[in-house]
Amino acid sequence: MEHTLTSGNVTADRPRPAKNYLNETTGLWSWMSTVDHKRIGIMYLGAVSFAFLLGGIFALLVRLSLLNPQHTLFGKQWVTAEMYNRFFTLHGAIMVFLFIIPSIPASLANFVLPMMLGAKDVAFPRLNLTSFYLWVAGAALAIGSMVLGAVDTGWTFYTPYSTTTDGAVGLMTLAVFILGFSSIFTGLNFIATTHKLRAPGMGWFDMPLFVWGIYATGVIQILATPVLAITMVLLLIERVFQIGIFDSRIGGDPVLFQHFFWFYSHPAVYIMILPGMAIISEIIPTFSRKTIFGYRAIAYSSVSLALLSFIVWGHHLFVAGESDLANVIFSALTFLVAIPSGVKMFNWLTTMYKGNISFETPMLYAMAFLFLFAIGGLTGIFFATLAVDIHLTDTYFVVAHFHYVMMGGTVIAFLGGLHYWWPKMTGRMYSEKWGRVACALVFIGFNMTFGSQFIMGGQGMPRRYFNYLDQFQPIHAFSTYGSWVLGSGLFLTAIYLLASLKTGPLAPDSPWGGTTMEWESSSPPVVHNFEEQPVFEHEPYDYRHRTVTHV
């Protein structure tokens, strides 16, 4: 495979050390019992990729169900409303709880965050491994609930449907409870690591912006996730004991559940997107070979997004009988979210200005992120505006909006970050040619799938609908074809990345000319990350002394 390295490397590569974190010890047990953040990150990467595959299969099934209003394939109806309801529930629950929330923090950040700080490991290595096994236990329960009687409540578990419906709702809520603790331990670990394990000389504003993003994410994980955990417990106990808190038949209030749920789940949206933004803040300066513009503004905007995320949950309840005063307040607060998001966009663009930009796969994903997140963010304004929200909420418009943020934002950034750090993690280069092709497929397929849904939603197609009016058929079909393009792009990515493990050229220590500390280690890194404790010497993203001269 051709090695299309277009950016130069400043320091001549050292000879690759014979022993690294991958081959220092061998055997299955050496992985399962490891406390090395790099190995745990790799295990998490495999685990969340598996969850992404599973959730993706359900997504494709959802789209296939809606290919035509008769739900037929080759002239035969193949899916019923019950099956469809399970498809979208499992798609949502798996993607949110098993994939997106742990995706970037637990896999990529686990690997690179300590290295960016010049640390040998995270603060609590054993807790890190515990977090992984909690994820495994949660995933096992979630998959168990699918086998033992599928859940059809939607990923939001709204009461009283979830307290009265059959199926393994209890098992699924237990899974979410456990996954919550997995997420808490990850966040806790990163906060403590950031506070205490920075390299000698590295102050708070010397940290890479990725660390700021993950730190802000950790704050949300710590402060919001316990509320999800207790909400899931209350839901479970309501189902078993009928305590009368959420179930209206025994005096409970179903809207209270929504408040509890969104008090977590809105901040959770930022658990998903902040790490995505954090990756973009790394990729853009590296491939523009120019220092990041507005470092402090980006750092502060991450923290302010984290804090704002706690006071906007009520915008999920604009039509749920919330008081008018509450609606107005939540609308105002929701508009505020646009400001730090906008600040980040402007700073990223200005970073590209007068840069020296090359377009390897990570940069292509970063630009795709700017494109898609711009759409995701701008369509958010429709929902913040109270009167317009009334018409659009609970339609395909909202489905499209949050997919542009969650997938167009987080997943695209995850893919960008995966390609960006792939050489560091595996010691191999992936195929740049196939990377670009796959990125184009993902980008086109994504826009086909979800762009079309804005139109359907505006026209009044409600979400979670199995049967739909014939007038929507052409758009639904188009969206389904898009999902095939998107799926093939992701499939292709899996193939060439896995192939690169065997056939990829050996990666240099710093293939992109990155300036942050993780590139000072060998590729792949040695067990304790660095052969010598790195000392903080220059600000991050300092390209003043790094003129790239060769391709």
Partner: protein
Amino acid sequence: MSTTTVDLHQDPHGHGGEHDPHHQHHFTTMEQQFDTSKIGMWLFLVTEVLTFGGLFAGFGLMQNKYPQEFVAAHEELKRWAGSTNTVVLLISSFTAVMAVLSARTNQGKKCAKYLWITVGFGAIFMCIKAYEYSADFAEGLFPGKFYSHHGDLIAGSHGYATFFSFYFMMTGLHGLHVLIGMGLMSWLAIRASRGEFSDKYYTPVDLVALFWHLVDMIWIYLFPLYYLIT
């Protein structure tokens, strides 16, 4: 959050004297390791507070919905038992502090003694709680749909069952924390009597004592919430 700063300019390779077996490889100094553990514990305590916070919020909303039922239901609880337990936990917090102090001053045996006393107070607390529970069950004061108490003033109201649901959930979760704390302290007491803790390394004692104080503090909130409703 602790904000003790590490001396970042210290030579990263110098461990400062002899190597402590408790020193983990990824920390430069023992002090850095101790501070980090403390930050981790505080963060964990924050999640604990928020977990209970969710239940407190739920209780408050339900109390707002059934004010009369909640007052009537709280009469069923034994105020003397709650008060005694409050005193028991307060004293146990003091003995926990003494255990930390003993560990820091290299008095391993004394530390173990205080830890066992704290465990003993925890056990007294749990016994009184168990007695209360069994008395409640005998009167049909069960949570949710199992509630079968007779003679409530507002017949057919779900408020009584809701009160006892929250009562058992919150005191039960608290009791679970007491049990976990007792387990941790017994383990530390054994380690302390082996002389594992000293002024150089007493992190586990310090952290478990912090946890115990939180458990104590939560009870200080639970007690007036359930036993002193007016």
